[in-house]
């Protein structure tokens, strides 16, 4: 819903509400950029936007901003990038929305700890982007996807009110609205401070690369591998974009954490359950992991979704044809509760071709339910642009 308010007026009005802030105005992009320092300022800024019907769009680093016809407020979280709490005892870190994932990872590493999921879009993402982006993150059967790493959060709602939940595991105090805020990809609220689960760095990290000899067989066996060996990370890659004499076109990357004997036992389970469908390769794990990076393509050429055992088998059967005909890279993760997480990359310039109508975050019915509710929560639609930050991704 257009506000009709000019950029100059938005800037002037905001200056009154948050005096002392440097506000930049871009006539070309019809935006006023503001860098809040704390949740209280966000409460004020978003409250103003809600009253005046001015759209609020977070400034993402990993993606291009949506092009908008209306004047809007561009929220830059750069000044809200502090690590506000760290509990060794409870295995939790609390960071502000603008914290760069790379900085957080480095900081945790110095403390001997680690996050249990990595972003798909690179670690230059800010925390809020990482949480709201339409991907599940690089995850394995042991710890689950990125949403499962969120212990508690605060967020600014479209009214400007600050949402918080108690700092406790497994709450039974009504619906878990923190999950709804994440699923809304910004339409229900923007995360401000987030408690994430962390783990001590393992005494030993076993990185195993396997060349896959029989892709359908390896994928069928991966379910058992995941169940028996519980790898911290496991990814199967069918790579058409950069394979050569040494580099296998299809490979599995497995990461196992723990004590030496335990890791050795689990590695043996990996070998046993993959059987003859895969064998150890001489190509180092890091080199194969690096291939993922070199094979990244322009946004808009990627589709991601969850599928079940049967859906995965059908997809693998159709490699080289059907939905993955022009896919230079197919990546598979998860293998949790009969569901695998599929990423299909296509060449730059090719249109996104989702192989399913399924929303990455929820079902068709769930998506309808969220959309209906967001209209009541945000009648002027000031946060409705937030999810579109990633629209180009497809």
């Amino acid at each position: 819903m257009a506000t009709g308010m000019s950029g100059t007026r938005i800037r002037k009005e905001l200056s009154k509400h948050i005096p002392g802030h440097r506000l930049t105005q871009s006539d070309a992009f019809r935006l006023v950029t503001v860098q809040p320092d704390n949740p209280q300022e966000l409460h004020t800024i978003v409250g103003f936007a809600a009253r005046e019907g001015v759209p609020v769009v977070p400034a993402a680093h990993a993606t291009r901003p949506p092009v908008m016809e209306d004047w809007h407020i561009r929220l830059n979280f750069g000044r809200m990038s502090a690590i506000v709490d760290f509990s060794l005892e409870s295995g939790l870190v609390c960071a502000q929305a603008g914290t760069k994932l790379a900085d957080l990872s480095d900081w945790l590493m110095e403390k001997g700890h680690s996050l249990m999921v990595r972003p798909d879009y690179g670690e230059d993402m800010e925390l809020w982007e990482f949480l709201l982006a339409p991907d599940a993150g690089n995850f394995g059967p042991r710890f689950g996807s990125k949403w499962e790493q969120v212990f508690s959060l605060s967020a600014v709602l479209p009214s400007g009110r600050i949402f918080e939940n108690s700092l406790a595991p497994a709450r039974a105090s009504g619906p878990d609205f923190s999950r709804i805020i994440l699923a809304g990809r910004g339409a229900f609220g923007l995360p401000l401070e987030v408690y994430l689960k962390v783990r001590p760095l393992p005494r030993r990290r076993q990185l195993t690369a396997l060349a896959i000899l029989d892709l359908p067989e390896a994928c069928a066996r991966a379910w058992k591998v995941a169940e028996a060996a519980q790898p911290e990370f496991m990814e199967i890659v069918a790579n058409q974009c950069r394979s050569g004499d040494k580099v296998p076109a299809q490979f599995a990357l497995i990461e196992l954490w723990g004590e030496r004997t335990e890791v050795a036992r689990r590695k043996e389970l990996v070998r046993k359950h993959f059987g003859k469908s895969a064998k150890t390769t001489d190509v180092p794990y890091e080199e194969l992991l690096g291939l993922e990076e070199t094979c990244r393509f322009e946004r808009g050429a990627r589709s991601q979704y969850f599928t079940d055992r049967q859906g995965l088998a059908e997809l693998i059967d159709s490699v080289g044809q059907g939905p993955v005909a022009d896919a230079p890279q197919l990546r598979l993760r998860g293998f949790v509760h009969n569901q695998a997480y599929v990423t299909i990359e296509r060449p730059a310039g090719s249109p996104p071709r989702p192989t399913t109508t399924q929303d990455l975050f929820t079902s068709t019915d769930g998506s309808w339910l969220l959309q209906e509710t967001s209209r009541h929560l945000d009648p002027r639609g000031i946060f409705s642009w937030a999810p579109r930050v990633w629209d180009e991704v497809g």
Binding site: W147, A170, A172, S173, S363, G366, L369, L370
Partner: protein
Amino acid sequence: MHGQRVSDELRKLLGSDKVVTDEQYLLSYASDMIPTGQLRKLAGRLPSRKPLSICFAEDVEDVRRVVKFCAAERVPMIPWGAGSGVCGSNVPVEDSIALDLKRMNRVLSLVPEERQVTVQPGLIGEELEERLNARGLTMGHFPSSIACSTVGGYVACRSAGQFSSRYGKIEDMLLGLEVVLPNGEVARLGILGDGHYKDPVLDLIAGSEGTLGVITEVCLKVEPLPEKMDFRGYAFLDLEDGIQCMRRVMQSDLRPTVLRLYDPLDSLMAGFHSKTSDGEDIHRAAARLTGLKGTLAAAITELNAAGLAVGLFRPSLLNRVVELLPTRALLIAGVQGKNAKITEQWDRFTTIVAAAHGEDLGPAPGHAWYKRRYAVSYKQSKLYQAGAFVDTMEVATTWENLAPMYRAIVKALSKHVFIMAHFSHAYPQGCSIYFTFAAYRPTERSRKSTYQQAWRAGLEAVQRFNGTISHHHGIGTLKRWAMTRESPGGQELFQAFKHALDPASIMNPGKIYNIDV
């Protein structure tokens, strides 16, 4: 619409065998197991409200008919499982009907190789477990109410079972749901729809206590039955050592089946009598106390019900006497797997327990607990009959706040009630505390007043530590006053969902949040 007309219309819709209006039925649906309802009954007073009628749905179409009728006629409806809730989630409102789902009790599909089961919501937990056991599977969900609670109720209130440290809570097992929304439409979520196993909208319905829709199908993950289970007991002189031991276990790679730490008084009540490290026998210590303190100490050590009932007149004194007795905290642990694996797990336990200054008591206390694990819930009625009240408060927080929060709650409640607790449902990041409290007051009014003071003091103490006011019983009407602090902004989100889905506010109104849509 007049009550009689509501019942007549419902009979036309469903058939007369599915609608009941007999007075004795209506009275039994006038309250769930919330203690204020029990206090009222024991005072010989009828409930202030009862439903106009009770509808027994047999399939999703029955549910849709009732919901559409209620939405059209603006008749509030209370979804009803087994009525075992203790927070007032099923308490009727003015001119409401109850929708009983217990006839929807079928197992719809069971795929052992995919380890998932889909059931109707009215299936009793124990029956589901028996059906699964027959196929070599288990749900891993063992609430103490398992014989008198339904699967739909578990999801609606985010239930937890005694083996949650291994299998998680019900929301961790949840893969999909079918829900009849307040407009009568059916939504299929998670893997029952075209969503995935961590569909966040499942987290909207789980814990919503029937305020956003009626659950009509539940898909859960199941696990193979363990080859063997084994249990042990450990003793700690210092409760905080026991807490540290639990934390270390949960942050290791061990996945214990059971992990429950009883505070000294709860250890005594669980029948754990042992000498302290300096060899002093608790009975000898009790004998040294004189006067009323001595009487109460004897009652505690002998688990003398009549003596304890006397003590409930003066709960603060009873609590002080407990502090004077040399006691230890009892940790019950359980593991499962193949024989070799069990030995390996106990070896690792032993190392962690020793580092936390614990003493291995062997298997006897663990197996004794396992044998009597459902017994405790059935002891409460005796106290009610004696004119006292008893209730439980299940809260949770992070490990670093756990011991301070426990102490703060004990301090806050000790003035009002006799109090004990155990720590169960542990996670790598924190743990739940399950308080049991009791007191005697001579009149219904004073009982109710003390009861409310205890709850208020307890939950305020929880919120000073930013803990949660509910780990697995839910909110209902009992705790809704504390929701503003539990989740600032949560009411705004809840209200948006109610506006969008239930504009007539027919679905279990007044629960979780007291809002007027």
